[in-house]
């Protein structure tokens, strides 16, 4: 079985809007997949279903053997501990330093203080922020804040990293740096990456598998490097 698998998935909101329709998708362990499409095409909904921020109306969503669609609300945290999430708006706690923002995840899991410190420093070193441990979010640039967000996502060594437009708020240069960090995580840690984006430069340059969504439907699934955004649009 694939590491991530969507079977006949539908998401229809209460107001009747169909965000995802009949989606089937398989992603192997260690894959790097871009999910692309226009704004409001359903890519964020698809990403959110992976970490059960949205519940599918119909169908099954498997992540690392867990059927997300059938997961009880009270057990969702167990799924999220296996998934690292990178957000477009970073979602850092403003009153905590970079170190604290990453450490609080492990603290809330009940790790010992002696276990937490090396893990947090390792995660921050991996994203190149070893020198900024004591900086608060408002003392860091957007790129640095996104790195903290990535460090927080990988600190528990998740099997999969789900990224929802991680470069959406960054300039092209910084975006490149962030993508380098994410690519390294994929290569060095073997983490499966699934990333929603509409940054065509990144997609074209990185030559990864691309899943295209239009109006809530998966309309294309291209193997590594076989897709160029400009050709289709």
């Amino acid at each position: 079985m694939s590491f991530i698998e969507l079977q006949n998935v539908y998401k229809i909101y209460k107001n009747g809007v169909t965000a995802i329709a009949d989606a089937d998708l398989k992603i192997k362990k260690g894959d790097f997949v871009f999910v692309i499409g226009h704004t409001a095409c359903g890519k964020s909904t698809l990403i959110k279903m992976l970490y059960r921020e949205e519940k599918p109306t119909k169908g099954n969503v498997f992540v690392g053997g867990i059927n997300v669609a059938k997961l009880k609300n009270s057990k969702v945290y167990k799924l999220r501990r296996k998934i690292g999430i990178v957000f477009q708006d970073y979602k850092l706690l403003p009153k905590m330093t970079a170190y604290e923002n990453v450490a609080f995840v492990l603290e809330s899991y009940g790790y010992k203080a002696t276990e937490i410190k090396p893990k947090v420093i390792e995660a921050l070193a991996r994203v190149g922020l070893k020198e900024k441990l004591r900086s608060f979010p408002d003392e860091m640039s957007g790129g640095e804040q996104q790195r903290v967000c990535i460090a927080r996502a990988i600190v528990n060594k998740p099997k999969v990293l789900v990224c929802d437009e991680p470069t959406g708020n960054l300039d092209p240069e910084t975006s490149k740096e962030i993508m380098k960090v994410i690519e390294d995580i994929n290569k060095e840690m073997g983490t499966t990456i699934i990333m929603a984006t509409h940054d065509k430069d990144i997609v074209n340059r990185m030559k990864k598998r691309v899943v295209v969504i239009e109006n809530g439907c998966i309309v294309g699934d291209y193997e590594k490097g076989s897709y160029k955004v400009d050709e289709a649009h």
């Binding site: 970490y51 921020e53 609300n73 009270s74 945290y77 167990k78 799924l79 999220r80 501990r81 998934i83 999430i85 957000f87 979602k91 850092l92 706690l93 009153k95 609080f104 995840v105 603290e107 809330s108 899991y109 009940g110 010992k112 927080r152 996502a153 528990n156």
Partner: protein, 299 residues
């Protein structure tokens, strides 16, 4: 070990949060202070009214006068008959001689009159003073005694006593309802104030949820925060209760306006009420937090 670690972290995080969100904490604490002072007042009133009622009830007796000329044997029979009535707990016999002497002792004017009677003349009747168990059945017991042979008259302060007991009963019920209602109002007010505190930290809760923190671990610091706010908020009401009540007791000389309404002695009593206030503050604070956090947990 892991649960203890999580508990320890929750307590320290709750403490930090009370300090960090200082202005909101002050708002919650002020709200708790005001409502708990009112709760304290209602409790003090309720318990004291209960005490007045009990005190008056315990003083209530039935006085039975035997018919004039009843012989000793019949007086004894009457005593036995009265004693066998279930509601009678105690019966004290007072012979006409006892009454005469008692009256002489009580009042100088009576003494002068009674002294003129001489030894052979005593118009006073033999009597019994009866204590009853259930005050609400006093009327029925009095009429049972009235129907016995050799009984001339039965007196128990009819009318006045019943009205007094009724009034105290009503006041007692009102204060109990007021205490319960106030506790609910406190819970509602505190929960709303804490809701504002928690709303300002909606993002924090959201992030914790998204990174895989369990609902219990998210909720714990907030529960402790509610507990801290409740306990801190109860300090001033506790001081008001202790010093206020002791002052009132001393100034009023241990009674409320009249001797038939004795105030409860403050020692022990104020500490018990203070304990109740702290517990109410803590529980209501925790309940307020619990309810508010639940809203953002999506459970």
């Amino acid at each position: 070990m892991k649960p203890i670690r999580i508990l320890g972290r929750s307590i320290s995080s709750a403490f930090k949060s009370v300090v960090r969100n200082f202005s909101l904490s002050v708002a919650s604490i002020s709200c708790i202070i005001i409502t708990l002072i009112i709760v304290s007042f209602a409790i003090l009133l309720s318990v004291n009214v209960n005490n007045f009622t009990k005190s008056i009830e315990s003083d209530l007796t039935i006085v039975v006068f035997a018919k004039e000329g009843t012989v000793k044997e019949n007086v004894d029979t009457l005593k036995k008959e009265i004693d066998s009535i279930p509601n009678v707990v105690d019966i004290e016999y007072k012979s006409k001689e006892d009454l005469k002497n008692e009256m002489k002792r009580e009042n100088e004017t009576y003494k002068n009159i009674i002294d003129k009677w001489g030894d052979e003349v005593n118009p006073l009747p033999d009597s019994f003073i009866i204590t009853v168990e259930k005050i609400e059945d006093i009327k029925e017991t009095a009429s049972t005694i009235q129907n016995l042979e050799h009984v001339d008259a039965v007196r128990y302060g009819e009318g006045v006593v019943e009205n007094l007991v009724d009034v105290f009963g009503i006041i007692r019920n009102i204060t109990i309802v007021a205490v319960i209602a106030l506790i609910f109002v406190t819970a509602f007010l505190i929960s709303n104030t804490i809701k504002i505190t928690i709303y300002s930290r909606k993002n924090e809760i959201d992030i914790m949820r998204l990174v895989g923190t369990s609902n219990t671990v998210i909720r714990l610091p907030f529960l402790f925060e509610g507990l801290f706010l409740g306990v801190i908020g109860s300090i001033i009401p506790v001081l008001c209760t202790i010093y206020g009540y002791v002052l009132l007791y001393d100034k009023m000389g241990g009674v409320l306006f009249t001797d038939i309404m004795p105030l409860i002695s403050p020692y022990n009593f104020v500490f018990k009420v203070s304990g109740v206030l702290i517990i109410i503050g803590a529980l209501v604070g925790m309940y307020g937090s619990y309810k508010s956090v639940r809203k953002y947990l999506k459970i």
